[in-house]
């Protein structure tokens, strides 16, 4: 019987990637202990865009397709990835067809059908729903069922890269039967469903304590009878990055702790205990210093840091922007704060390889104090008695803001010391991450407000296609009072030529041409100094040495293949 089940399970694509066959029995490896140093507040990723919620929910609910650790799409709840070649994507790029796997069941035993997929789209696009992942469904005109296991998506206009809706941990399929009364404004009120969604994943929620502990049990109806190897999961939230890493690497109390953003030497001392290991994967995260193109002078009141405030008195000079980048020694920043989990970069799109530009590496990756000094001398910025350069009464003295995090504060100090060598002064400021990234329009300390001259943080894009990400630097994406400080064009960069090129990218279907355009856009941002890219950051998590089957993935959820995880015997 077992053998038969195993054979059946073999049809699942996931098995091809599975761990040793010796463990191929469900629930034999006991409890998996996970530690998130930011606690999980809901299991419904459509109601919270936070990474921790997306990660935790991906244990239970799954998308149609995922991206593996190499950045390639893998079919998950479907039989194959629709492409132009196999006819899954229409020639006119206006529609695509997904073929669902026939044997998938929800954890309550009911069948997984096209109706659930359609419902998910309706759920997230319902008016007043406040769906956090609405961007995933942008441009989708209609989702319909051709038969119970075939879904057709129609787009409003040709979509050269259609793998956004129902792909990746941000847009998993939820069960229509469970959420049918939770559409629109009623969505946040459905506590039972939001805290314990019924899924197709390898585990089901057993108990959910918001902002504290979640316990999961193996899904009895999971499509692969031999998986998952663990019988249950305990996911504990809270603490800080260092203590989370310590609980895995040094004391061995937990099996997996997410995001070990701690100084490399501290991690080294923790690993000396031999209880855990670090896994690093590189996605698209870039730590960058945004330069404010508008004037953030507090005297301007509500107009500060908007286009009405006029250009920045010092940073409007391209020579200053270039010199600030030249003065930075990225290798030292990586060594001090990131170690193995960072690489110096000059690109805002550092990966995947096909779209990563190397054009500016020659001048930008190497520190050049002399060149920077010369550039500023030639531009007429003269050193005063205090060693700080000035021109026409404008001093090169910048307010340098970021979020509170020991690695960021160390980077701030290093950059400040480097800038001091070219006669540029920096005043350091940091705001608690929950405020800085909180997006509260009333707070002056959010990164969108940018009430500072330069601002440092990390951002990335989901999946492997940078089109949406590069569109963030369009003129009309500037945050400001008119749009409630939404919008991701943090530097307030505005260049009609850039906007035009983005428009061209959105109409191009040919992958090579797309990569070419993406590189051009990326280079434009670096060359013009919208920001100073510093470090290509990897995701770094700690795992117990006894944990097997982990395939650290930056393109998808880190627990994307949790069904394959097992305990070394």
């Amino acid at each position: 019987m077992h053998k038969l089940k195993l054979l059946l399970a073999g049809t699942a694509a996931a098995l091809a990637l599975s761990g040793p066959a010796a463990h191929a029995e469900r629930g034999t490896d006991g409890d998996l202990k996970i530690l998130f140093w930011q606690a999980v507040s809901t299991m419904n990723p459509y109601l919270s865009g936070g990474t921790k919620e997306v990660l935790a929910s991906s244990i239970v609910i799954e998308p149609l397709a995922r991206t593996d650790e190499k950045g390639e799409l893998v079919p998950w709840l479907v039989t194959e990835i629709p492409t132009l070649e196999n006819g899954g994507v229409a020639k006119d790029l206006l529609s695509m067809t997904w073929k669902l796997k026939p044997d998938v069941k929800w954890s309550d035993g009911t069948d997984f059908t096209a109706e659930d997929v359609i419902f998910t789209w309706k759920y997230c696009t319902a008016p007043d729903g406040g769906c956090a992942q609405a961007a995933q469904y942008e441009g989708v005109k209609n989702v319909e069922a051709i038969d119970p296991h075939t879904v057709k998506i129609t787009f409003e206009e040709p979509k050269p890269y259609p793998y956004s809706a129902f792909v990746g941990p941000q847009s998993p399929i939820i069960q229509a039967a469970q959420f049918k009364d939770c559409v629109g404004a009623k969505a946040p009120g459905c506590t039972a469903a939001n805290f314990g969604p019924i899924g197709t994943g390898s585990f089901v929620v057993k108990d959910f304590k918001p902002n504290d502990v979640i316990t999961f049990a193996a899904n009895p109806n999971y499509r692969d009878a031999a998986k998952p190897a663990f019988a249950s999961i305990t996911l504990k939230g809270g603490g800080d990055a260092a203590s989370a890493a310590r609980a895995v690497l040094e004391t061995g109390e937990y099996d997996y702790a997410w995001n070990a953003q701690v100084e490399p030497e501290v991690l080294q001392t923790m690993m000396a205990a031999g209880k855990g290991r670090l896994e690093i994967s590189f996605g698209t995260q870039t730590e960058r210093i945004n330069l404010n193109w508008t004037n953030p002078d507090p005297a301007l009141g509500d107009k500060r840091s908007t286009t009405e405030a006029g250009p920045h008195p010092a940073l409007k000079d391209p020579a200053v922007r270039r010199a600030l980048s030249l003065a930075i020694d990225r290798d030292i920043i990586v060594e001090a704060g990131y170690g193995q989990s960072g690489k110096p970069t000059c690109n805002i799109v550092p990966a995947p390889e096909a779209v990563a530009s190397t054009k500016n590496d020659s001048w930008c990756l190497k520190q050049d104090i002399e060149g920077a000094n010369k550039l500023l001398d030639d531009a007429g910025w003269v050193k005063g008695g205090d060693g700080i350069r000035a021109k026409d009464g404008v001093k090169l003295s910048f307010l340098y803001s970021t979020s509170t995090n020991s690695v960021r504060q160390a980077t701030q100090e290093l950059v400040k010391a480097m800038w001091a060598e070219i006669g540029v002064d920096a005043e350091l400021r940091n705001a608690s991450a929950s405020v800085f990234f909180g997006g509260d329009p009333a707070s002056p300390d959010t990164f969108q407000k940018f009430y500072a001259d330069v601002l440092m943080y990390t951002n990335n894009f989901d999946g492997t296609d940078p089109e949406k990400y590069l569109a963030e630097w369009l003129c009309d994406k500037m945050p400001g009072p008119k749009n409630g400080w939404q919008g991701q064009n943090i530097p307030r960069y505005c260049n009609p030529a850039y906007d035009k090129l983005v428009g061209e990218l959105s109409k191009t279907a040919d992958l090579e041409k797309r990569a070419e355009l993406s590189k051009q856009l990326n280079d434009m941002l670096t060359e013009e100094g919208a920001h100073i890219p510093l470090v290509h950051r990897g995701d770094q998590s700690s795992f117990a040495v006894t944990l097997e089957g982990v395939r650290m993935n930056s393109w998808d959820s880190q627990v994307w293949n949790i069904a394959d995880w097992s305990r070394k015997k």
Binding site: E263, Q409, Q412, E413, L414, A417, E427, D445
Partner: protein
Amino acid sequence: MTDATMTTAPPAVASTPTRSALSDMWHQFRAHKGGVAGLVVFTFIVLAVYVGPLIHTVAPNKLDIRAKNQWPSLAHPFGTDNLGKDMLAQVLAGGRISLAVGITAMLLALFLGTLVGVLSGYFRRLDGPLMRLTDLFLALPLLPLLLVIILLFRDSLRAAFGPETGIFILIVFVIGITSWMHTARIVRGDVLAVKSQEFVLAAKSSGMMEYRIVLRHILPNVLSSIMVSATLGIASAIITESSLSFLGLGFPSDFPTWGRLLFDGANFMTLTPSRVLWPGLAISLTVLSVNYMGDAIRDALDPRAVKR
């Protein structure tokens, strides 16, 4: 009567003609061994942070990434941090700021607390409103209040006084106005007890002005409790400052204070223990020595103790 300002002691002191009030207090103070030890340690810390940088001339903010995470050596007696900054220089520089913040904020809180306490204890009509105000302040959630004050006034003060002085004024002010309430309550209670005593009645009946009664008779008698809350105030001000720095609302991050050094060093405890040892020791010793000194000063100022 040229030394009139010095002899603000209660009448009891005047009855011992052989010694001046000041030397009498010193005598009392010396009898308290812990107080003397506290005085020695505190003087040493103050001297160290102000004179130390003249001897140990490394700049506290000098980065030397090649010499990071070093254990104590001759060049770096306290070792270095993860950016290669000299820990001794940092602890000394941090001490100057922490002590200045602690003492100034304490003085402000003491002044406010004593004022409110004496007024509400001595004048019946003011008692109700002032004590309700004290209750109001006690009921306010302090941290959110601090955050709001800092957010509102940070930019204007920064523009007026520059980033460092501006933040210093703001932090001292913020800590001062949020920590006077306990002093006010204690002082009020003491004033209520003292003002019903005969010598105050005698002063009143002799036609003394109210403000002179308060200054000459009431204040000296409640000084002991003021002193105790003063010593506790320094400690809590140093600790409040470090929690503000931790939230990113205190001084800029490259501005060392003891609290910040301790916080930053916590992750590196196993790698370079001196990073937490010295700032932690400095905070503990300061707080402890100031507490002992306060204890001894209270004994020395207590009129009843002098009589014995």
